[in-house]
Symmetry: D2
Subunit: 405 residues, 4 copies
């Protein structure tokens, strides 16, 4: 297969967010059919938010297709981008878009914390170690897998490629905001994708937005802000993630001595050293769910209790974290015999709607004004300027079993 | 007819913004069928924006029904409001909602400037002078028309009634943002009406929003902000309004001596003194449009030229207003023989997303926090706080005939 | 200007039905800015249906842009069509799409019946007589106006051009179904435009749909069926059209002797012989509306009465037409002194969801099956077969003043 | 807890199909929180269609909430239904709506065929045997669980209750059509739910639709028809279900002797006799997915091969079933050593858009005409009459491994 071989006719996949996903390169089509990409059907997009928004059951499979589609449109419909990239770069960036989340494990945050490895590390391993994903790329063009991985780890020779996929205004965020809004059934994640695409330009190999598109970017930034607070940082979602975290932590704390008593599939998680891709492959949300079912009958009462809570959505309660409340509540829990390592959670979330340019790199958004000058977004938008100079939202919560009260 | 007589069964009118408009009071139904309310079918909602957004052809007729529907939902679905008002107040506020724009003239801004009378004055006259609207109310309950007009002029005994229709978070704005977004085909006017309604409360006879609804209000405020800049204040819309203004001004400047040469329907506009309701009734957009057609053949070359421009959308160009540019352009126009009174326009628009409480009245938005305290919106929302403390958007433009350049 | 001159950059007009209307030919842009095309802003798309669906206030201006946009997509996105037409044909068919309704008069049906001239006659006159529309085309390419008119009157050398605009599966119907559904707020006019476009093919210079698109065509046919019965043939809409018809008829019956007493703008309608384009230009819905206002004070009591009804939506009642009822009702009306020529209306509507090929021409829809054979739609779809062999819906109604009962 | 205890305030769950799910009875809220109901989060709504429509990843959890919501609206917003039922019946029918699918196993069709037990049997067992679902109901009101199960098995004293949930026009179908349309991203499942609800009446304890709602029912029937052919009966979905069926069949054919070699979780499936609820509980799609992962390394080559196909979406090809093709293809497969029991599938699907009343019971749809007469739907609708008298769509397909060709 050559790198630029086309499919017989354009293949289209119905997608409620984008209408259709269009595929006309054979390598993209084959990549979708690899076992690693199909595995994403077994990993949900939102770790805990579907405990609040019951329809948010969509997976990283559809999100990955969506990011691919936005990048495909960028490189075909945005003249400046189309003209800035050669054919090989176009294929590379579409593959990077499709595969950017291929290394995601189950319940991303809780799992990543316990495994202490970022999903991006796995993404690059899957692309570069001996997998069907890797073999397919190398068969098409030698060295291709490295180029794709480089886009994902921001080492690409052409920085524009990484900007399309991972910056403050990228295809990844654009897809997940629209997609999560659609599947949660909320409206605050919506923004005018068409308008942003229409007003993108490339100047000095940097992605910029025309002044006439600034309001659409403002809208996108507000959408992101609201999605964070109403969906991703919803305390109930965080409570569920806390439970998952505690459950994984308890397993890990049982140590290597406990391995035999645990479902086999969790073993790789508990062994020292990194997880093999073969073991990682199996660790999807389906298998974890089954593993949790088995833990319901485990001899360890904490594992037993936590796994029932996870299975049946018997969530921890939450409260604002204050010294007085925490002291009072922790004392109460201790008195009732709860092990605070597993029955007392705490987190802090902060969200800056937008991070301006600091002079030390970073990925600010840039606008080209009518007079041709280029400004950093917060100098092109009063709204954004106000937001980054105003107070920052943060939220500190504690989590504990409701029966304790 | 009694005030509370119900229709045989609930009448429903299909409305894309609200699904259905529900009517179950006979007086509401009869009011819709008056000649004054039907006249609103001949007055568009957006004075000039349909020159930019070609589908924004909706009228004040549907907007008025929409405001009525939101108020109807407020007084039936929001428990606190339902319990705060007696039956007569409920009917009064629904009538006020339905009729709040009944006095609108054609092309609101341009026309109001020339006639130097606010449309609210006409609204109250239509309600209180001898019209079918007035007679219908008085037949139902003596004194009713006065009560309805009092809500519109903020003199109601119960200030809650005016708040529902006219404040910074009212049924009027809620409907027009959603409706104008729908008919322009933009998304930035959308916000979560359901959520706002669900979180409204009445405390000490004041409308407040629960803390859990603050984000929805933030969204609404951003929606308003974006609709102003992208739709209502679009320079092309303002250019068209400038043309209309110039055309009306030229007619008025022809003075009473010119009356005979003008289409009869414009006569009332030119006479000194206030316009009779009978004359005002005829001055809808349909008749103005016909009047403009007649002016195309008028002996006055300025009238002739301006009316062709209005009819055929031959708009003035616009530019940012700067001393240099203005000086240069005005000189050029003069040299070419243009009368600057009619061929040089200028406007300034400013939009504050939200005006906080200043201690001297006003209509701030209030939130009730989880702990029961009541805060002014900018103290309950970081976003709103940032917006009102950041720089304010304004825009100064000048308008002139494109051929002059 | 040359025929293929492009605009500086693609111009886009926001449209809620299609997202955006895209324009990149200068002649299309200039055509939109002619006085005749702008005149369509003053003619509503739906003659009477906005008396039932109050938001259906959209005009032929936006519909015409929509038909143009669908044709533009057909000739750029449907490979077979793109490859079947040369550049000149593409421009011709886009112009024909844009202008196909440019000859529409006010309140189409009622007006056409009285003027006894089809709007297509005016469309071709506007294109071929001395108008700004005509001059623009001829300046771009000699003979162009004739070619455009030929597409509209189905005399084009290439029959495919007419098929795109006027057949049983054409851009005209596709746009108005989607548009009328959007603006009425109903859902039954929706169908999958994307799918139909994707499955269109050209075989032997005939437009066919692939078998895999047949279900989408079934949906389109059902959409059409339901829109007819729920919107276009709604008895209330027909009642309003009956009133308009009666009003125009009464004016005409006053004869040439009555001309002086009538508003000047109606004069051309009453004179024998065809209407000049200059007179026709002025006869839009705005001027008719103003004319009706004037008739409210006319000396003829019938004109006076009918014009108040039209203005204030005081509609005739309707009932199923049966010999008994009609006899009874007509007697009652006569007894009460009503002139049955103007106070007794009657109509019959029939709608065949689809008309199959009859062997004598016509414009059936054709499908290409997986095996390559071509079948007429009713042989490719069980649904369509059933519909055309089942009973046909028709509806006979009579209309009369409600006070008479 | 009493049967009618209310929650503190109305609880609302955001749902993109219905806006919100409203809960104000404590027993409904508690039921949602049972382990059996939460288990539905692990069972997708569409067995194989998400292999075609990649976003159709929604579960029976959200569908069950949706059916509950429609029934809740029926008994509160449809006056006739509200007045026909007493308070206990209302709670019973809401519970039955919520629980009607609680007995669903994984991949419904394939699994049901192999286990040879309908999911309704499990639903009733879960309601009536000793589960948290059962105990909760009996604690609220003795005998309640029996009443709820009776609604599901159509044995309710009041047949109206079953009609709401299971007939040809019921809350179950209404929700799944709208929901599956939303999550597949297709439009053909949409119909006007509001209109149908508004026109429902109860006459002689039978649910009927007013004549003015017949067109909305026609639309619903067409929606159902199209969803069947475009989604539920899509050959790719059926191919996936065929694969699942073959995999389950192979496991079962290994017989009791093979149990030891199979993942423990599949054991109950292979033993003779019925499955205990404890075992059934674990058999969700998550655990099956994990089980399939284990089978990938099984010693039986057929199991190994089929499980890889299921996991990685390496589907069988499909073709129209014809004697010639089948003979040819079966010969080819045999020659290549394929075991036809597992590598040759065949199915037939037929869909009647609507089944009219046959005189022997059944659940036809009835309409009440303007004159008060009651007609069976196919006598009230020309469309429906045509559909049931026209040819019936059926489709016979065969399935086989693509490598064999």
């Amino acid at each position: 297969m050559s790198l630029f071989e086309r499919t017989d006719e354009t293949k289209v996949l119905r997608d409620p967010v984008h209408g259709y996903i269009h595929i006309d390169l054979q390598i993209i089509w084959d990549m979708i059919n690899t076992s690693w990409f199909q595995r994403l059907r077994r990993i949900r997009q939102l770790g805990g938010a579907n405990m609040v928004y019951h329809c948010a059951e969509h997976t990283r499979f559809s999100h990955s297709l969506g990011v691919y589609e936005i990048v495909r449109r960028m490189i075909t419909e945005v003249n400046d981008i189309r003209d800035s990239l050669n054919e090989r770069e176009k294929t590379v960036v579409m593959l990077a878009a499709l595969l950017h989340d291929v290394g995601h494990g189950p319940y991303s945050h809780a799992f990543e914390e316990v495994s202490a490895t970022s999903h991006e590390v796995y993404t690059c391993r899957i692309i570069e170690e001996d997998t069907d994903v890797h073999r397919l790329m190398e068969a098409a063009a030698s060295g291709l897998s490295r180029e794709v991985a480089d886009v994902i780890r921001h080492k690409s020779a052409n920085p524009l490629l990484s900007q399309l996929i991972s910056s403050q205004l990228d295809a990844d965020r654009m897809d997940y905001l629209l997609r999560d809004a659609y599947f949660t059934g909320t409206t605050y994640g919506e923004f005018d994708l068409e308008r942003i695409l229409r007003t993108l330009r490339v100047i000095d190999n940097r992605l910029v937005v025309k002044q006439s598109g600034v309001y659409a970017v403002e809208n996108y930034i507000m959408a992101r802000y609201h999605m964070y607070w109403q969906v991703y940082y919803h305390p109930t979602a965080r409570s569920y993630e806390t439970l998952l975290h505690m459950l994984f932590k308890r397993m890990r704390d049982l140590g290597e001595t406990g391995i035999d008593s645990l479902p086999e599939l969790f073993a790789p998680l508990l062994k020292k050293g990194s997880i093999s891709l073969a073991d990682y492959f199996i660790l999807d949300e389906a298998s974890c769910n089954y593993g949790f079912q088995l833990l319901v009958d485990h001899s360890d009462p904490i594992l037993r209790d936590l796994s029932v809570r996870v299975r049946d959505r018997k969530l921890f309660h939450y409260a604002d974290s204050t010294p007085q409340f925490n002291r009072m509540m922790r004392a109460k829990l201790k008195k009732q015999g709860y092990d605070l390592n597993y029955y007392w959670g705490r987190d802090t979330v902060v969200q800056k709607p937008y991070v301006p340019y600091t002079g030390t790199g970073g990925n600010a958004v840039w606008a080209v004004m009518k007079d041709g000058s280029i400004r950093e977004l917060s100098n092109a938008s009063n709204i954004v300027y106000s937001l980054i100079h105003g107070p920052v939202n943060d939220d500190n919560k504690v989590y504990y079993p409701p029966e304790a009260v």
